[in-house]
């Protein structure tokens, strides 16, 4: 297991390098630069050109790339053009909201997904199963921004129960600690549902299938023969092997916890990594795009590593193989 971890960590560096290099090229391919996107009322063409020079945007591509790479190698991600502060600081500010939102969404995803799958797998092709299948497929087919719009329409605009944007209410700073927590949870619910529901539907579909597969296996037959209760067979004997593909899917979803969801965060004005990436891409803020991609790429690779390790924990066979 340690060897797997070490091997994967060694491949991390070239992979991240590859991703940021491709990102750099793609960002550069988009026409226009930061200096072109500004709307300052007194921006003359000369001033725009001076600005381009002051950010080094008039330098050859290769030079810009090498400069960025050399600085990044020493841990310096540069300064954001847009926010006028170090990229590391912008990321430091955006990471906690994203961890909170995507973490909550993942919990919803897993919790709801496992519960629905267990309910469905108890009686395959019964009415619970059919209902969750129809609902699950329906939700799985919807893009999360559409779900976000629907949730806002119903719960924020229609019923007025929950806020439609931002992380806090106006004046939340003056509330008590409990008040602030409740305020935060109220703001968290809709975006977390927008992200989590689709995942939960997918998890439920996947897990239901593997549960049914396990049900048909010989160890379940053996357990039944030994007279174990159906509940025990489902929860203990079938669930563990059935969870293996879910763990893989979970590992692939982990990067979202770090890089955030660009669309959902932007719809809800959630100040995380995804919204920062949106703003950065719009403004052609190259250092910020690069910094966010670097963190995102590292998260993808670490996520799949964690999934592999979890897999080894859940499946003894993966551990013993040499």
């Amino acid at each position: 297991m340690t060897r797997i971890a070490i091997r994967r960590l060694v491949t991390l560096v070239p992979l991240v390098w590859l991703v940021v290099t491709v990102t750099f090229l793609v960002v550069q391919l988009a026409p226009g630069s930061y200096a072109d996107t500004l709307d300052h009322p007194r921006l003359t063409p000369e001033a725009r050109q001076n600005l381009r020079a002051s950010y080094g945007l008039d330098r050859p591509l290769g030079e810009q790339y090498l400069r960025w790479l050399a600085a990044a190698a020493t841990g310096d991600l540069g300064s954001s053009y847009l926010f006028k502060e170090p990229v590391a600081k912008v990321i430091g500010r955006a990471l906690p909201p994203t961890l909170l939102l995507a973490g909550t969404a993942l919990l919803l995803d897993l919790g709801l997904g496992v519960l629905l799958a267990l309910a469905a797998a108890r009686r395959p092709y019964g009415w619970v199963d059919r209902l969750t299948t129809v609902l699950g497929l329906g939700i799985y087919g919807l893009p999360s921004f559409w779900i976000a719009g629907l949730l806002i329409l119903v719960f924020a605009l229609g019923l007025g129960w929950l806020p439609a944007s931002h992380m806090h209410s106006v004046g939340a700073g003056e509330l008590s600690a409990t008040g602030r927590l409740i305020d935060l949870l109220r703001h968290l619910l809709l975006p977390a549902l927008s992200l989590g529901l689709v995942g939960a539907a997918a998890t439920a579909r996947l897990l239901r299938a593997t549960l049914l597969e396990a049900r048909a296996s010989r160890f379940v037959l053996a357990a039944t023969a030994r007279g174990l209760s159906p509940r025990r067979i489902l929860w203990v004997h079938s669930l563990r092997p059935a969870l293996l593909p879910v763990i893989t899917a979970f590992g692939l979803a982990l990067p979202m916890v770090v890089s955030g969801s660009v669309v959902v965060e932007s719809v809800f004005s959630w100040p995380g990594m995804g919204m920062a990436l949106w703003r950065a891409a719009e403004a052609r803020d190259i250092p910020l795009v690069m910094g966010l991609t670097l963190v995102g790429a590292a998260a993808v690779i670490l996520g799949s590593l964690i999934a592999d390790l979890l897999y080894a924990v859940a499946d003894p066979r993966a551990r013993e193989e040499r």
């Binding site: 072109d36 009322p41 001076n50 944007s165 004046g171 719809v267």
Partner: protein, 504 residues
């Protein structure tokens, strides 16, 4: 009082700011010598005293002396003095600061401290916009910021160093989430501002803005779409404010393209486009026909000019005169085997402009011209435009109150940065522009401006479409607000919020 908008304060140093929202909000925190008034209809804008209680030009017209209000204090108690004004000028001109508006100070040779509350600007020549140029940019605190060497300015966390002398001061700021300004108790204007706190909630898109205005979560949205009017006007607690905002939309024809180099073709294009339909359908009536390069509400507008009338039959005649005919019978005009077809570009973020493109496409199809709308993202469109890599663009300008037609219409030599993206070149216009820049008074400028406008309207390098209105939605509980195109926060220090019982 909660204001919703698309932008946020991106730097607390006004001279490092690169966006409109930052400039507007910081004008509440840092003082100005004078305040430009919105009276440009019949004469150039006048100015009201602010930090300066008055000013006096010298007899030769080369100097302007300002007298500062001795009561003015920074929020840390230090008086605002002439030294602050001189420091501000040094900052504005410093190459390391590289302020985007520094060209406004090109004609100013020196800002001299006469005494603590008197400061003298010296100009290299007499010209009409001296006061406007001297006043451009807010005054910043020399005592707090003067010790930081300019080369280090871009690395400073200015949010930590805000010292205010405006009606408001910074209370808290969570970037992209919430900005709170609070009443500056030391503001020298007795009793002002009335509001204790003003909160800005930046939003990433327009949709939540309207939604939260309707739910009462935000009190003011500056810049609604015409399509939102009905919902805002229908809200019992909402008020709609609208005014001409110096904006005008147009189609910019790339004159380097052979199709558009013939002025007859450009006139025909203008005649084939139903401007009134655009105003009725796209702007829902909230616009007026645009005539030429100076908007019709501006003192400098040539009132003898008329918008090109909608006349498809006349357009067809003009096109035939220019050699365009449907020789292959496919319904589209051609000449020497080439169709009169082009790409009509606009930015995908702007629904109104996209609708205009579609209407224009229909209008032109009726006279046998093929316009192919193409929608690209804003940065891409600007890059294509500045590179000259386009046929035609639907876009818009905001006309500055400082009338300078040079950047848009002078034929600068190739390679030089210019806003004349269409490649317009008329030697007579060039000559008149240079003459207008050289005269000392507005009275001398006006006839030159009139002539320039007449020539440009004749040449039709743009099809001038519509002069737009700014639409502001505001909660009825907000009182005393004068909102105009100088600034959405023009008199924010006089706004107040009515008690619940009084809002009916």
């Amino acid at each position: 009082m909660v204001i919703g908008g698309l932008g946020d304060v991106l730097s607390w140093n006004p001279y490092l700011a690169e966006d409109q929202t930052t400039v507007e909000i910081l004008s509440l925190v840092y003082p100005s010598l004078a305040v430009e008034q919105v009276d440009y209809q019949d004469h150039p804008p006048s100015f009201a005293p602010s930090l300066a209680t008055g000013w006096e030009p010298s007899a030769d017209g080369l100097e302007l002396t300002f007298f500062l209000d001795p009561r003015a204090r920074w929020s840390d108690g230090v008086p605002v003095t002439a030294e602050d004004v001189a420091f501000t000028f040094r900052t504005q001109r410093d190459p390391d600061v590289a302020w985007l508006g520094s060209d406004a100070k090109d004609a100013i040779l020196e800002v001299a401290v006469v005494d603590a509350h008197t400061v003298r600007f010296r100009f290299d020549r007499a010209y009409p916009y001296q006061l406007m140029d001297a006043n451009e940019g807010p005054i910043i605190p020399a005592h707090a910021w003067g010790g930081i060497p300019y080369p280090q300015w871009r690395d400073v966390d200015w949010g930590e160093r805000v010292v205010s002398a405006g009606p408001f001061r910074k209370a808290s700021h969570r970037p992209q989430q919430e900005l709170v300004l609070e009443r500056n108790d030391g503001y020298w204007h007795q009793g002002r501002p009335y509001l204790d706190r003003v909160v800005w909630r930046p939003m990433p898109s327009r949709t939540p803005l309207l939604a939260q205005l309707l739910t009462g979560d935000i009190d003011l949205v500056n810049g609604l779409d015409p399509a939102d009017i009905e919902r805002v006007a229908g809200g019992p607690r909402l008020r709609l404010v609208s005014f001409p905002d110096r904006g005008y939309s147009q189609i910019r024809w790339n004159l380097r393209r052979p199709h558009f180099s013939d002025p007859r073709v450009r006139r025909a294009l203008a005649m084939a486009i139903d401007r009134q339909a655009i105003i009725d359908v796209v702007y829902l009536g909230r616009a007026r026909p645009s005539v030429g390069p100076v908007i019709s509400t501006m003192w400098a507008f040539n009132r003898s000019l008329q918008a090109v009338a909608f006349d498809p039959a006349g357009a067809r005649r003009l096109l035939a005169e220019a050699g365009w005919a449907d020789s292959d019978g496919d319904g589209n005009l051609d000449r020497d085997g080439v169709e009169l077809a082009f790409e009509l570009l606009t930015n995908s973020e702007n629904d109104l402009r996209q609708d205009i493109c579609l209407l224009v496409e229909q209008n032109l199809a009726k006279v046998g011209i093929v316009a192919r709308p193409r929608f690209v993202e804003w940065g891409t469109m600007l890059a294509l435009e500045t590179g000259g890599d386009f046929d035609a663009i639907v876009s818009g300008w905001i006309e500055p109150t400082l009338i300078d037609l040079g950047p848009l219409w002078h034929s600068s030599p190739p390679g030089e940065p210019t806003l004349n993206s269409v490649g317009y070149a008329n030697p007579e216009v060039d000559r008149l522009l240079e003459a207008a820049a050289a005269v000392a008074t507005f009275a001398e400028q006006k006839p030159l401006f009139d002539r320039i406008q007449a020539l440009i309207v004749d040449d039709q390098p743009y099809t001038f479409l519509a002069e737009t209105e700014r639409l502001v939605g505001i909660n009825a509980r907000v009182r005393g607000a004068v909102i105009n195109d100088a600034s959405p926060y023009f008199n924010l220090d006089e706004w107040y919020v009515a008690r619940e019982a009084d809002v009916r």
